[in-house]
Amino acid sequence: MASECGEAAAIDPRVVPLADIDLGDERFRITTQRESGDLQASIRRFGLRTPPLVTPVGAGFIIVNGFRRVSACREMGWKSTPARVLPTASAYECALTAVAENSLERPLNLIETSRALNLLEQTAPEGRIPDADASALGLPTHPSVAVRLKLLCRMPVDVQDGVLDGTISFAMACELSRLEEDLGIAFASLFRRLKPSLNKQREIVSLVSEIAGRENVDPRQVLEECGLTQVIGSPGTDRNQQIHGIRRQLRLRRFPSLAAAEHNFFVLRQRLKLGAALQLAPPRDFEGTGFTLALSFQTIEEVVHLRAKLDELIDHPDFKTLLTGKGRGFEKALDS
């Protein structure tokens, strides 16, 4: 295929009327960038250094590479443009050239990579991109990666935008692709607005889906009831606080007994008035029976003070409740 493309390099440089170029035909579009303002300034100062690549279709042309350049020329009021005309090339040759000119000029982002893979696969003679071509173009050849990447450019625009602005990772986009479209959009909007880390995004998606599964309700209803859709529509308030609030709400609903036990423990611990130098931690998820008591000090005097504090602690009824009382601090969870 590479040699055929080499033949296709017999490109015909011409001046083409802009009216003859169908800017609406985006079948070979790889770039995700739409704005051409910066390009106009460059063309005005340095001229059109690399003419767009077009191929004849019917009485006119379609763009193989250079969508933004054609757009910039039109917006600057040009009537015609120098162009490189790729004569009578197959769709796959055009696709290879489009991907090659983009990927060799700059690294493709994830959506562009997805478009490139889809374009090549759709036009490849046997519906399968030869590994040698994908590899030469710097595209992934591992089948499972390619399959997941190809999904990206078919996902809702909100998700794609999230991927482009870095708020939604490839891994999360793949998770969202498994959801119903409007649910995926709702999560994407939430994540784009609050920018939680990937782990927190995963936690939110998983909690919503598990609450919905357990309660046999639509996940969108969970989003609604936990106020997540209100967050999407309300600007202001610190986003970290909002993320914390959402996770707390979801966790309360997903793990009501555990959350109640934690709350009960915190209330009892607060009543102990331990101060900053003494820290008491429960066993993880209250599963084990070992508590952790950490002491912070710098001087002997502080240790003496801590000793007195420990003596007080040992006699405190709430401390006994935590360690040996019925239900070891989670009696409310038992009674609930």
């Binding site: 598990e210 357990r214 009501p256 998820d285 209250f286 239900g327 989670f330 969870a333």
Partner: protein, 367 residues
């Protein structure tokens, strides 16, 4: 059991068991040089776990037939011994650990019974009390319709006085066992659950009524019985459902025939969650309030387990106050809260169960 492919280890080609299986399942024998060929066939399926339930591989057990139950750290184990007769199961329970325990899972049935007999003889010769079961890596009775393994084992155990065999099942296939001379050295045991859990999460198993009827028939023929409320699935309203299950148990079976009843709440390795969600789309069991246990398994939040155990144990004790109830893989705190004592106060769980076996199965140790 419906078998679509029957593989036989090349070293065992021509064995009558292979011919019998071929006739029974109406499938040709495919002789293979290694297990890898079988695994490759199963792994290539869209649902290897589902496929593995229809692929039978007759082979040799290349390891030990008698193994100690692996147990887990931090939780009290009962000191059981596994008699490893085969792997996997033709029934399809959502929570089944075997789905992720074998890679890929496949129905394997071991034919080198002479070696198994030798190991059993060595164990019998110790003249100590041992409890063994075949229901750890498979269901004990799924093999019953086309093998005579249980008959062989029941007769073998009947010939000694220190060991008891527990056949644990979710089937009702006891017909061929009833008239065997068991001498109470074999316990017929059933896993019990609520109708709801059986319906949603135990595909292809028999109903609760069928299990209890089979148990009652076993008791009529003098077999000691055991029941395992395991896994207990905790959900809204489950306490009432389990109480009803207990009522139905005692309506069908006189408690005097029961050696022990175990309680164990659902627990699973984290990777099983994905399998359950993929293979059992309508199951809700993974949506319980699980936390990471000290053994790495997902377990219900401790107070929830305590409450469920306490309720079920109370329902059992209301009818059968003296019955031996034990918890499967729980710590002292849970024991104390649920049953009112810790195993160490009664000499340890292993001893508790040994004593129950001695009492009910008339075992005697030579030591």
């Amino acid at each position: 059991m419906k078998i679509a492919e029957l593989y036989v280890d090349a070293q065992l080609a021509g064995r009558p068991e292979a011919e019998a299986a071929s006739r029974r399942f109406k499938v040709p024998i495919q002789t293979v040089g290694s297990a890898q060929e079988v695994y490759a066939s199963v792994a290539a399926a869209k649902d290897p776990i589902g496929r593995g339930k229809h692929v039978l591989y007759l082979t040799r057990n290349r390891g030990a037939f008698i193994k100690s139950c692996p147990g887990t750290h931090h939780y009290t184990c009962c000191g059981y011994k596994i008699l490893h007769i085969g792997t996997f199961c033709s029934m399809d329970c959502s929570y089944c650990i075997l789905q992720s325990y074998f890679h890929p899972p496949v129905l394997q049935y071991f034919l080198n019974h002479d070696e198994m007999d030798q190991e059993l003889e060595q164990l019998f010769a110790t003249r100590a009390i041992h409890r063994l079961g075949t229901g750890e890596f498979t269901d004990s009775l799924i093999w019953e319709p086309w093998t005579h393994l249980s008959e062989r084992l029941i007769r073998k155990f009947a010939g000694q006085d220190g060991c008891v065999l527990e056949l644990k099942t979710k089937t009702a296939w006891v017909d061929s066992l009833l008239d065997l001379p068991h001498r109470r050295r074999t316990i017929l045991a059933w896993s019990l659950n609520t109708d709801e859990v059986i319906r949603t999460d135990e595909r292809g198993t028999t109903s609760l009524d069928a299990r209890l009827k089979a148990a009652a028939r076993g008791a009529d023929h003098g077999y000691p019985l055991a029941f395992h409320f395991d896994p207990i699935v905790i959900a809204d309203g489950c306490e009432a459902d389990y109480r009803r299950t207990v009522e139905r148990l005692f309506a069908a079976v006189d408690p005097r025939h029961i050696v022990w009843i175990s309680l164990g709440a659902l627990r699973f390795m984290p990777e099983l969650k994905t399998v359950i969600r993929q293979r059992f789309k309508h199951s809700r069991i993974v949506y319980g309030e699980f936390i990471g246990g000290l053994d790495g398994k997902m377990r219900y939040f401790k107070p929830l387990r305590m409450r469920a155990y306490r309720d079920i144990a109370a329902a059992i004790r209301a009818v059968a106050p003296g019955i031996c109830i034990y918890l499967c893989m729980e710590d002292d705190e849970v024991w104390e809260h649920a049953l009112g004592f810790q195993p160490a106060q009664r000499g340890g769980l292993s001893r508790m169960l040994d004593e129950a076996a001695v009492r009910q199965c008339h075992l005697s140790s030579g030591r």
